[in-house]
């Protein structure tokens, strides 16, 4: 037995040596997404985004072949770090795209600090503190964060919809905290209310919402819901079954394609639900139309229209490839030059121009949307308004923005 192990080790060592020799004309790229657990569908669409970008470049950048290695997590921070360690320390990828979920992003940022020669690009994780507080030098986020995604929604709910008091239902981790903050900050500044005891925080993967639905107060104008994937599907069905009549306001992933495109009963009652996020299904821009067409062609079994996960992974992968072109595929200095190229990168995406701020966080356009029924019965998000070039501090100076405090269950307190 031990003889066998030794032989395997020798072979493995020989392979890895020859691997570095071959690495002259190919670069390994790791991609990490949630291919297990409550966010499986989301992770699958994220991977589609990675493949779209690679396909666009013909799996080549900077004159070198790109070899894709995928890793899977289940939305928990430790599973993300475990998968990242495997990709970085065993497969030896110099570039890693991912993760998908908010708290995973926070964990990967901390892990990135221990691997200074590896370049990390975000997938779609959108917790605020991944880049706002104590960012890692080698972690780049070309997709925006959860508070940026909410740009314009608080104002819209207060001014156009006339809501004054809302209840909040969200999953209990960093990304929904960021989303709730992004929605409530302008909503409450205008005079809206969201009582602390009308905010419900449930664990990821919760299936049975009937008791939460029963506990929702009657004296509110609407419910702000920030749930994702299977959680959102379960909530919407049970809300309808329980005869829920309050209007909803959706978080970025609550009424997007990963939920609207799920199998089973169509959810007519969500028509009219306002939301905001980095993509809008019906945006009439040729760049977006071309992206949707490419997605539908490449993945006939995907969603009717790409979700923000395909979009976020696509943009981050594309950024990685563009910067590789710029440095001619040269990562020999531990990626220093490469990261400099990334920091200065500014490029055109299916949803407009994107560039980074000094903490390597994206500044990009955000879409205010409303759910409509599409021509063939699919539910879609219609563009109401494009909010141009939203930055992470939502327009206020960095120092002042930090005074708002860390996102959490009771921030903002709305008092």
């Amino acid at each position: 037995m031990s003889g066998f192990v030794r032989k395997t080790l020798v072979v493995a060592a020989a392979l890895s040596i020859s691997g570095t020799a071959v690495a002259q004309d190919s670069i390994k790229m790791g991609a990490l997404a949630t291919l297990e657990g409550a966010f499986t569908v989301l992770g699958e669409d994220g991977m589609r985004g990675v493949k779209m970008a690679l396909e666009e470049f013909g799996y080549e950048a900077g004159g070198k072949k790109i070899e894709l290695i995928t890793g899977s997590s289940d939305a928990s921070p430790d599973s993300a770090v475990r998968a990242a360690r495997k990709l970085v320390e065993q497969d030896g990828v110099p570039i890693l795209i991912g993760p998908l979920s908010g708290s995973e992003g926070l964990a990967i940022k901390d892990y990135a600090k221990t691997q200074p020669d590896v370049t990390f690009l975000n997938g779609t994780s959108a917790a605020q503190d991944t880049t706002l507080r104590a960012p890692a030098e080698n972690f780049f986020r070309f997709s925006t964060d959860g508070a940026q995604w909410m740009a314009g929604l608080g104002e819209y709910a207060y001014n156009e919809k006339g809501y004054r008091k809302v209840a909040v239902l969200a999953e209990d981790y960093s990304f929904p905290y960021t989303q709730v903050f992004g929605f409530l900050e302008p909503f409450c500044r205008l005079g809206g209310e969201a009582p602390i005891d009308a905010r419900f925080w449930v664990p990821i993967g919760n299936k049975d919402y009937s008791s939460v639905i029963a506990a929702l107060p009657d004296d509110v104008d609407a419910i702000y819901v920030a749930l994702g994937g299977a959680d959102a599907v379960n909530f919407l069905t049970q809300f309808e079954q329980a005869g829920g009549e309050l209007p909803l306001i959706g978080g970025s992933i609550t009424v997007d394609q990963s939920v609207l495109g799920s199998k089973g009963r169509t959810r007519q009652f969500v028509v009219g639900t306002p939301s905001a996020g980095p993509v809008s299904d019906t945006w009439d821009d040729p760049r977006w139309a071309a992206f949707v067409a490419a997605y539908q062609k490449q993945f006939p079994d995907g969603f009717p229209s790409p979700s923000l996960f395909a979009h976020g992974y696509y943009i981050n992968t594309k950024a990685a490839l563009l910067a590789l072109n710029e440095v001619g595929g040269d990562l020999s200095d531990g990626g220093k030059k490469y990261r400099e190229a990334l920091s200065n990168l500014e490029f055109d995406t299916p949803t407009g121009m994107v560039k980074l701020d000094e903490r390597r966080e994206a500044i990009a356009d955000i879409f205010l949307t409303e759910v409509i029924e599409g021509p063939d019965g699919n539910l879609l998000n219609k563009t109401i308004k494009v909010i141009p070039q939203v930055n992470q501090t939502l327009g206020v100076p960095y120092e002042k923005f930090l005074e708002y405090g860390q996102v959490g269950r009771e921030n903002p307190s709305c008092e």
Binding site: E36, S211, A215, G229, Q241, A242, S262, G264
Partner: protein, 336 residues
């Protein structure tokens, strides 16, 4: 009954008072001070019903689990996979045929056959080696989870139950009296009430089967002493295969029932396996009435936790388990 009152007058009075308070809480319109203290009546009544109906679902899953254990001393850790597979098969059949009921029946039969095959082809080979059987079931559950992911992907599936099962009904329980004098009745999803009815029906059917039929008698004898049973000329293998089939079939059946109430997606297998494990640990391994009591307790604990302190609600389930293990390690209805 009369004997109980004479012997334990104090407890009888206490139970009476509890029942009266409970009935009052359910049917009376709540005064202001009570609403200030524990919230609205609507929340309480809905949570109560949710707990009971979720308990019903847990019972359907766990009864099969406990039945198999009781007879074969085999902790089938692939029970959750049977649940999920039943849900997927039921979904496919219901989609293809347009009949939800057909999906339900096919799910039961298909998983029952799977169970029989597992028993005949796998478990019979390692007769009497309980630990090995249990480890094999873990292996099966891992392989099954990946195969199902490959076939049905990670998408969340939801059933389309018949129209008359959809929507909400008014319960004959008044929530509040409006200022205009109109009574507001509490609404409750029709489907969840049906889950409860089905669970009770399954419970009664199992009881009748175990206590009133010849095969049931053999199974009970096997639970007590399987060597003695086979010595008296009964084909034990046949009984084993039958019980395994019924236990697995119930899991598949629950897959459709539960998939309609909530949804089916990868990961559900582990969730229901864990729920069944907790239910039978609390109720007592091998006891069907124990599974009913355990399921009810866990269902109520989960729902009240979720409604009244959502962040830490999960802890409540485990507190119950810890208390039961500390006070009565064999479970509430567990023998020996």
């Amino acid at each position: 009954m009369k004997q109980f009152i004479e012997r334990h007058t104090f407890w009888a009075v206490m139970i009476m008072i509890a029942v009266i308070v409970f009935a009052w809480a359910l049917f009376a319109v709540w005064p202001e001070w009570l609403i200030d203290a524990i919230g609205r009546k609507k929340t309480f009544v809905n949570t109560l019903f949710n707990g009971i109906t979720l308990g019903g679902l847990y019972f359907i899953v766990a009864s099969g689990f406990t039945l198999v254990f009781g007879l074969m001393r085999n902790v089938n850790l692939a029970h959750g996979s049977m649940y999920l597979l039943g849900g997927y098969i039921g979904y496919e059949v219901a989609e293809a045929s347009g009949s939800w009921f057909l999906g339900l029946i096919v799910a039961f039969l298909a998983i029952a056959i799977t169970g029989v095959l597992l028993q005949v082809l796998v478990f019979r080979r390692m007769e009497g080696d309980d630990l090995r059987q249990t480890l094999i079931t873990i292996g099966i559950s891992i392989i099954a989870a990946d195969l199902m992911l490959a076939v049905w992907t990670g998408t969340t599936y939801q059933f389309d139950p018949p129209e008359w099962l959809y929507g909400a009904v008014n319960l004959p329980i008044i929530s509040v009296i409006k200022s205009s004098g109109d009574a507001v009745y509490i609404k409750y999803p029709m489907y969840r009430l049906s889950v409860l009815v089905v669970a009770i029906a399954v419970g009664i059917a199992l009881w009748l089967f175990l206590n009133r039929t010849r095969i049931g008698m053999m199974i009970r004898a096997g639970v007590n002493d399987r060597e003695m049973l086979s010595a008296s000329g009964v084909n034990v293998q046949l009984v084993f295969a039958l019980v395994f089939g019924i236990g697995a079939g119930l899991a598949g059946f629950a897959g459709v029932i539960g998939g309609t109430a909530l949804s089916i997606a990868p990961g559900e297998d582990v969730r229901y396996l864990l729920a069944s494990l907790i239910v039978v640990i609390v109720g007592g391994l091998g006891s069907v009435p124990g599974a009913a009591i355990g399921a009810l307790l866990i269902g109520l604990a989960e729902q009240f936790g979720l409604a009244y302190f959502p962040t830490y609600g999960v802890v409540l389930t485990f507190i119950i388990m810890v208390v039961v293990l500390a006070v009565r390690p064999q479970g509430i209805m567990g023998g020996r």
